[in-house]
């Protein structure tokens, strides 16, 4: 479906324009560049819309969990549509607020920090496969690319904390740096387990190697790793209960305490885009990505559409993991800093290292049904 759409856009809109404006001899390159740009927009616009409405979903869901109402006033054209206009009103408000740069701040780094924070969380989407063929860059080292880019996200936080010239911001940055480095290692080892199980670094091939049924997905042979990966993902995105980098009650708002207006909202956007990314990756690596959970079942598996792989399954799985993010935030109190360090270094790291040996043994022994 999407391929036809892209082909239609390329042949119908881009090609005539390129033929008119591009210099002779460069048509194919211009067309290719424009086509890639359209594809990037096709990923980014839905992503940013999801970020916008994830904030709404978060407030409503946590409101429900805590017996509150949540935002339900702002609507469209004089009607309250369950408060669906709220994120748009928030965005407009943030757009019109002044960005205040503190006097002692390092101006350039202060401005660069939010950009450094959001860029990796958007760039990582290049290798995420949405469908069998629907992927922007089908590169072989996709898993490594994701790992490299998620490890860059910490720079935004550190630089923001340092450039603000504020003690609270600096404390938040230091906490975040130590925390992200600790959980990054567990996350990397978790990805090594997936790599051993799938025998490939390409995300599409990782999903294909999980096909069969819901029991063939990697969550079962990699169960501890699945949990470690998702919890590390929560820690890596600085979400509750691992949000010591923000720690409202201790260090005001941590690394972004000096930021306001759009500069603040870019940090916000990066955090939510990272949440969605971690959820998609958990779905792709451990829960079969676009594969249907009803595949291979006796009765339901025979129904068309329900048992077939499609992008809808990926979206549903992603939403489930996103809900978990919100649920955690509504439920758990914040971890203390030394407890976070202990969990990362003394619990997760040994678990992942042991499981690398276990999964390698399973692959060598060709344990059915996953590795036969």
């Amino acid at each position: 479906m999407f391929e036809y759409l892209f082909d239609a856009i390329r042949d119908g809109i881009l090609a005539p324009v390129v033929a008119m404006v591009a210099p002779a001899g460069y048509e194919s390159y211009t067309l290719y560049t424009l086509e890639t740009l359209v594809k990037i927009l096709a990923i980014l616009i839905p992503l940013l819309l999801s970020v916008l409405y994830l904030t709404y979903a978060e407030r409503r869901i946590i409101g429900l969990i805590q017996c509150r109402i949540g935002p339900n006033r702002v609507g469209f054209f004089g009607r309250r549509v369950w408060g669906l206009g709220q994120p748009i009103a928030d965005a407009v408000k943030l757009l019109f607020k002044e960005i205040i740069i503190p006097t002692g701040a390092n101006k350039r780094l202060f401005i660069i920090a939010p950009l450094l924070s959001v860029a990796p969380s958007l760039a990582a989407w290049a290798v995420v496969p949405f469908d069998d063929t629907l992927v922007l860059a089908d590169i072989n080292a996709g898993l490594l690319y994701i790992l490299a880019l998620t490890s860059l996200a910490v720079y935004g936080v550190i630089i923001a904390g340092w450039a603000s010239n504020s003690k609270y911001a600096f404390l938040g940055a230091m906490r975040s740096a130590a925390q992200i480095v600790a959980y990054e290692i567990a996350m990397g080892f978790a990805l090594v387990c997936v790599l051993i199980a799938a025998g490939s670094l390409n995300l599409g091939e990782i999903i294909s190697s999980q096909s069969g049924s819901i029991l063939h997905w990697f969550w079962l042979p990699l169960l501890p790793i699945f949990l470690v990966y998702f919890i590390s993902g929560v820690a890596e995105t600085n979400r509750a209960p691992f949000d010591v980098a923000e720690g409202e009650s201790e260090i005001v708002a941590g690394f972004h305490v000096e930021y306001g207006g759009m500069a603040f909202s870019i940090f916000f956007m990066a955090e939510y885009a990272n949440m969605i990314l971690i959820s998609v990756l958990t779905a792709v690596l451990f829960c079969g990505g676009w594969l249907s959970p009803f595949q291979g079942l006796p009765l339901i598996g025979a129904i068309p559409y329900i048992s077939e792989p499609s992008i809808l399954w990926l979206l549903i799985k992603t939403s489930v993991f996103l809900f978990l993010f919100l649920w955690f935030r509504a439920t758990f109190p914040r971890y203390r800093y030394d407890q976070i360090m202990r969990l990362g270094w003394k619990v997760f790291l040994p678990i992942t290292i042991v499981w690398i040996v276990v999964i390698a043994g399973m692959v060598v022994a060709r344990v059915p049904p996953w590795f036969s």
Partner: protein
């Protein structure tokens, strides 16, 4: 210096149409590629090369150590981009992952925490300048010799002798590393492990009376190990005639009053 070397070497190999592969330098079939694409590639190469050399220069010239560390990050990033141009995607990504994502984060962490005063560090600059210039000249000569010669590394077969390989770079690198170069790889790993242990044992000094909380003991604490609820007679026994349920309640209430 290293950045300059990298740019020179990469420019050299890139010009000859050589790309970096697991086992060595393999001639890559580039004749089929359009010259326009090659030109675009060169433009990208020059942009990244210029940024790489500039930022490498800034690392040693800027006054603020945090800025220097950030320029080093930029330099690593640019060299990773140049490696990507050579289709050495594994090395490029690992450079970003290890150096940018982990090593430099810790560097920044330390540099920001220590608040280094650079003035005393700069005092001996003039005295060390001749030594630095000598080393620089030596390295420059070595680079020139290596880059201008056709023998890239001794012991490797000439580039043209190896057939072009279509398999993924990462896979090839892994296979070569774990078969042909297994012993050097394992020895390097062992050396790194020894270095880690040595660094930890040299720097870890436990204070005589350490009073840090132990989170592993704290997280397993249950209510029963800390709080004991005791049923006891209240000071003034409840009035007779109360129903049984109410008297139970008032007992609980009395306990709460005591704690207040």
């Amino acid at each position: 210096m290293v950045a300059l070397y990298q740019v020179m070497a990469i420019y050299h190999f890139g010009r000859r149409g050589v790309c970096l592969y697991g086992g060595g330098y393999v001639e890559q079939e580039r004749k089929t590629k359009n010259w326009k694409l090659k030109m675009l590639e060169q433009v990208v190469f020059y942009i990244f090369g210029a940024v790489l050399v500039t930022s490498a220069g800034m690392v040693v010239t800027v006054r603020n150590p945090v800025h220097a560390a950030l320029f080093l990050v930029l330099a690593f990033f640019c060299s990773a981009a140049i490696w990507l141009l050579l289709q050495a995607e594994f090395l490029a990504i690992v450079l970003v992952l290890v150096y940018v994502g982990a090593v430099m984060v810790l560097f920044l962490f330390v540099v920001m925490m220590l608040n280094i005063n650079l003035a005393p560090l700069r005092e001996g600059f003039a005295g060390f300048l001749p030594v630095g210039l000598f080393v620089a000249a030596l390295m420059l000569t070595a680079m020139g010799l290596i880059v201008s010669s056709d023998h890239v590394l001794p012991g490797l077969p000439p580039a043209a002798a190896q057939p072009p390989i279509d398999a993924a770079n990462t896979e090839l690198l892994g296979k070569t590393l774990f078969t042909e170069y297994l012993y050097p790889f394992e020895i390097a790993g062992a050396i790194l492990l020894v270095a880690i242990i040595a660094a930890i044992s040299l720097t870890m000094r436990k204070p005589a009376a350490q009073r840090t909380p132990k989170p592993e003991k704290q997280v397993v604490v249950k209510r029963d190990t800390r709080v004991r609820l005791v049923n006891m007679e209240s000071a003034s026994p409840p009035e007779k005639g109360d129903s049984g349920g109410l008297s139970q309640r008032s007992q609980g209430g009395k306990q709460g009053d005591n704690s207040d």
